[in-house]
């Protein structure tokens, strides 16, 4: 069973004068993984960033239209973008652990938001997040080591743990595996599959196989527009649009 978590209505995004997203409307559901695919530069990352208002941090970026989180407009004046980002977490393309210890990396978010008042509470939060991210067994004896000293795949799982630790409702992932080898990638994909029980997950990927493996819904973007959105099986086996078909069969660059 699914219910709608995020709703975008007629969203346009501009960088200065340039329109990067053109009239996109989409519903993103709880409990499943939604994949965004499309050729490079089509606006996947841009659209993903509108969902937690990370575009606010880019000078000159402007968003028109409506995005609702549980029915509440996230671009309304009453919405605090900082509070929003605690509810809609994000994992980036390149692992970006802070230059702090593994423990501090995970504890960073909870501390900011005043979770885990006692030391024991914090330890529990960190352990739970690392366990969920499938990293606990590997790092439990070296929590004070620098987060940057881990392997790339471990760093990315640390970043996922960091995002989970603040108990978000949605996790956005922008090509989370593009800097990783196939084994680390498989590990993250498994993790995404487990995490979808607790969070709505949106993942941007360049890999058709990855989208097919991990997602239940797929959205295909082209030149800033949402061309086709539907069940992943249907998109990959029986696309309605010619452009989608060309792209997934590799006929499009």
């Amino acid at each position: 069973m699914t219910d709608t978590k995020l709703t975008a209505r007629n969203v346009d995004v501009f960088y200065g004068q340039k329109k990067a997203i053109n009239d996109v409307s989409i519903d993103i559901d709880n409990g499943i993984v939604t994949a965004f695919i499309g050729p490079s530069g089509c606006g996947k990352s841009t659209f993903l960033r509108t969902l937690n208002r990370m575009n606010d941090t880019i000078a000159g970026a402007r968003v028109d239209g409506e995005i609702l989180l549980d029915g509440e407009n996230i671009y309304a004046a009453s919405m605090d973008p900082v509070a929003l980002r605690a509810r809609v977490g994000m994992v980036f393309q390149k692992p970006n652990p802070f230059p702090k210890s593994i423990f501090e990396n995970v504890a960073y978010g909870p501390r900011i938001h005043g979770l885990g008042s006692s030391k024991a509470d914090m330890e529990q939060i960190v352990e739970r997040a690392l366990t969920k991210a499938g990293l606990w067994e590997e790092v439990k004896d070296r929590l004070t080591d620098a987060g940057t000293a881990l392997s790339g795949g471990q760093q990315q799982r640390l970043c996922i743990a960091r995002a989970i630790a603040v108990s978000p409702e949605v996790i956005l992932m922008d090509e989370p595996c593009s800097a990783l080898d196939p084994i680390a990638t498989a590990r993250i994909e498994e993790l995404i599959d487990e995490l979808k029980e607790s969070f709505a997950i949106v993942i941007v990927t360049h890999s058709m196989q990855q989208a097919a493996r991990v997602s239940q819904r797929t959205a295909f973007f082209h030149l800033g527009s949402l061309v086709e959105y539907g069940e992943t099986d249907q998109i990959f086996t029986n696309p309605r649009e010619v452009r989608t078909k060309d792209y997934i069969t590799g006929r499009y660059g």
Partner: protein, 457 residues
């Protein structure tokens, strides 16, 4: 005189040689690929062959000519009646030289007049010989250069080498000067330490180099009050001003300021760095110091001095702000955007992100910047000369007058001083200490910066 003229002639010859060689080379040019080097390179090659040997000859001759003139003058019968005492003789000869170049100059020693004619004659003779020699070298060099012009001659490669040699010579010049300065510092400081024990100098707390009392000279050269004053003003008071202000302005400029704001503020801040230190000096002495004195008086201090460590330190701190801010600016800009994005995406505010992620990540770079700033501050002279005072106080009271290493160096070396007295020589010992400390600060700071850069490559 004639030697100056010959320089012009050599350059003229070089120009002529350039055109001649290029013209000659052009005759050989029969189409693309027919020559190794383009005609203009032959021109440069020729010009170099004219200029370099001739200029070397000119330099050598200019160096040895005064000796030759001297010899000729003393051999002259007119010199026979001169006094033999080297001091007087030296004075007479130098007066005679002045008279020879400027007949209206006044001479205190009548004997000097006798020497004028011999000097003129010798200068004319040796000048002419030198000029001829230089011209011969120039022409010989040019002749050799000209014979080498052939289609397959690699003039371009040769010119390339000459350019490299020129650049090398230029950089060696700076390095050699540094070595020279360090050498003289070490040498003079060595003379000082023959009289005063280094231990007494580095650990003694009484500084009164002018006083002749006291059985032991070591007791008057305790430099600790100077070191303390230097550190207190340059590394403590100035940094209390410069670090927070510089850091905060860097944070504002890199993180908050809009593009337009940054365009205005950054150059304004850089103007601070462009103000001559002497201007800061009188600002400190005429504006800040009296204010502090009045403040001290209102606090009930007895006879507050106009000069105070606080006045000098505050103004020095302001002077250092742009330095700290631009180093911090670089350090903050070197932190990848992914760091702050990661923090913002976790729902932290901008200032939380700056405090907990950006500043810690940039810390090594900031620390290095502060170290460089300290090394500038402790070497700064003008402000302390004008505002800090001369009293070698070992005090923690910022309102007290204090002195610094640089101030004392100025004191020891200005005015009429007998050379080779421990008092004068102490300036070199102080300079050496300052140099070593600054060098260490700089090396450590640059290392830290380099490490830090590598961490984010």
């Amino acid at each position: 005189m004639i030697l100056t003229g010959v320089l012009l002639a050599v350059f003229g010859l070089g120009l002529v040689g350039w055109f001649a060689a290029r013209g000659r080379a052009r005759l050989l040019y029969t189409g693309r690929g027919s020559m190794h080097s383009m005609p203009a390179y032959h021109g440069w090659h020729m010009a170099l062959w004219i200029l370099v040997p001739a200029l070397l000859a000119w330099g050598v001759w200019s160096a040895i000519m005064p000796g030759l003139v001297e010899g000729a003058v003393f051999a002259d019968p007119a010199a026979a009646s001169l006094p033999t005492d080297p001091m007087t003789l030296g004075a007479i000869v130098s007066e005679a030289h002045n008279l020879a170049s400027d007949p209206s100059a006044t001479a205190f020693n009548p004997e000097a007049r006798v020497l004028v004619e011999p000097i003129r004659a010798a200068q004319a003779r040796f000048g002419l010989i030198g000029a001829l020699l230089v011209m011969v070298v120039a022409i010989a060099g040019g002749g050799y250069g000209f014979t080498r012009i052939r289609a397959d001659f690699r003039a371009r490669t040769q010119v390339e080498r000459a350019v490299m040699a020129l650049l090398l010579a230029a950089s060696l010049m700076a390095v050699l000067t540094t070595f020279g300065i360090v050498g003289s510092l070490v040498f003079e400081a060595g003379l000082f330490f023959k009289d005063v024990s280094p231990i007494a100098f580095l650990t003694g707390t009484h500084w009164s180099p002018a006083s002749t009392m006291g059985a032991n000279i070591n007791d008057n050269f305790g430099a600790v009050p100077l070191f303390w004053g230097t550190i207190y003003i340059g590394a403590i008071i100035a940094m209390i001003v410069a670090i927070p202000l510089g850091l905060m302005s860097a944070v504002y400029l890199t993180q908050y300021a809009s593009g337009a704001m940054r365009k205005w503020l950054k150059p304004m801040l850089e103007i601070l760095a462009g103000i001559p230190t002497v201007v800061y000096g009188y600002f400190a002495a005429l504006t800040v110091a009296p204010m502090i004195r009045d403040f001290a008086a209102s606090m009930g201090m007895q006879n507050p001095s106009t000069e105070s460590a606080l006045a000098a330190g505050l103004v020095m701190g302001v002077m250092i702000i742009p330095f700290v801010s631009s180093m911090a600016d670089d350090a903050l800009a070197a932190v990848p955007r992914a760091m702050s994005d990661g923090s913002l995406a976790l729902g932290s505010t901008k200032s939380e992100t700056i405090k907990k992620v950006l500043l810690p990540a940039a810390l090594p770079g900031i620390v290095a910047g502060v170290m460089l700033a300290i090394s500038r501050a402790i070497g700064e002279t003008m402000i302390v000369v004008m505002a800090a005072g001369a009293a070698a106080n070992l005090s923690a009271n910022p309102l007290a007058s204090m002195t610094t290493v640089t101030y004392q160096i100025v004191q020891m070396l200005t005015g009429d001083q007998e050379f080779n007295s421990p008092k004068t020589l102490s300036a070199f010992a102080l300079g050496l200490v300052l140099f070593v400390v600054t060098l260490i600060l700089n090396i450590v700071a640059l290392r830290v910066v380099k490490r830090f850069r590598e961490a984010y490559e």
